[in-house]
Subunit: 197 residues, 2 copies
DNA sequence: TCCACCATGTAACTGGTTACATGATTAC
DNA sequence: GTAATCATGTAACCAGTTACATGGTGGA
């Protein structure tokens, strides 16, 4: 039952959005902004088999339209529950440190599954954890910068800036949930007022 | 000879900076800002064995000071060459998309191994690729935003902002190489002027 | 006929994770 | 003596990569 592979959850979330075949899912990874995930058949099909063997999804072969049979997957109740469990996991600093992509994935699926209020709560939680983590990095930077080579210092700064950017984004995202969004503005990285740390 | 594991290159780079034992390297991953890499013995020691069997490093057992013998690793000429080969690889969009951490690692090791001029060239190259990639994402966003749920839009925006932040950082870093740095300022994410896209 | 595309699979390999094992030294 | 820390390893497991296999359909 305890799943653990990020790809597995990505598949779970996508299948929940709409019943899909392996091919559909591969296309999503290959053609949309979710392209940071695998898309290779050697990853997708075994992952789907695992999910099915765990009882989280079930596939029905459709022989529709004379094409080769495609196996359409849907979530089982267990699968839905597992997805929710994943989405509601508490956010830890280690996730921010090494698994930001997974947190984003959770956020992307959250609205649909748990509703907008949960998304806002998640964002607020994330903002706090990111802020704490960033300020830890800044402390580390202040303590160690003078002993580091320029390149090391700059690389660390890049990381810090990245997290500050995420911090700002969480605020932006929360605002967007509060009032209906004006579409098509991704918003520049503004001067931060009262950012993390 | 063709290595490919990022951890392997991280080890190569660190060993080049100073001869190290597995334990030393684990400590670096566990205690410094390089903590995004593994640090578990089950990752480090086998990786070191692989590097040694490929002739990229060699280990000498030091029985110094009565402690348990520690195996100090150094780069072989082949290892140095391999490191340089990795550092001078051309930057591709796919690296920016899925392997930003590896690019940062390359940058962090570059100054020491290839000199500051190479670092600046790398940054300029990176800046161009990041800009192109970001502007692709922005185009995708403009084309698809209206068909995406708010959460999807926001997640994508987060990515775009992240890359804009990296873009700004490359400019900052180039400036830092041009004139001696004023230490201890990691610099806020400023309003961008003429950013990517 | 042959190619491109739809669609699913499989097998070998690689490398990281977790967890455990071992043993030496230092400090109390 | 015993706990903490230094230091290296090992084994089972798991998931992803690459590359190949298969086979149906529609169009040139």
């Amino acid at each position: 039952m305890s799943n653990s592979s990020v790809l597995g959850y990505a598949l779970l979330g996508l299948i929940q959005q709409r019943p899909s075949s392996g091919y559909d899912l591969r296309k999503i990874f290959a053609e949309t902004a979710m392209g940071n995930y695998s898309s290779s058949p050697g990853a997708i099909y075994p992952a789907l088999e695992r999910l099915e063997s765990q009882g989280l999804i079930y596939g029905v072969v459709k022989d529709s339209a004379g094409l080769r049979r495609r196996r359409l997957y849907r979530l089982t109740p267990t699968g839905t529950a597992e997805l929710r469990k994943w989405l509601t996991r508490p956010i830890e600093q280690s996730h921010v440190k090494r698994g930001m992509a997974e947190l984003m994935l959770r956020f992307a699926f959250m609205e649909r599954t748990l509703g907008a209020d949960s998304s806002v709560a998640f964002l607020q939680n994330l903002r706090a954890v990111v802020r704490a983590y960033t300020s830890g990095l800044e402390t580390y930077f202040r303590a160690n910068a003078e002993h580091m080579p320029l390149s090391g210092r700059l690389a660390l700064q890049c990381g810090i800036r990245g997290f500050r950017s995420i911090y700002l984004w969480t605020s932006h995202a929360i605002r967007m949930y509060r009032k209906p969004p004006s579409l098509l503005t991704s918003g520049p990285a503004k001067t931060r007022k009262g950012g993390p740390g």
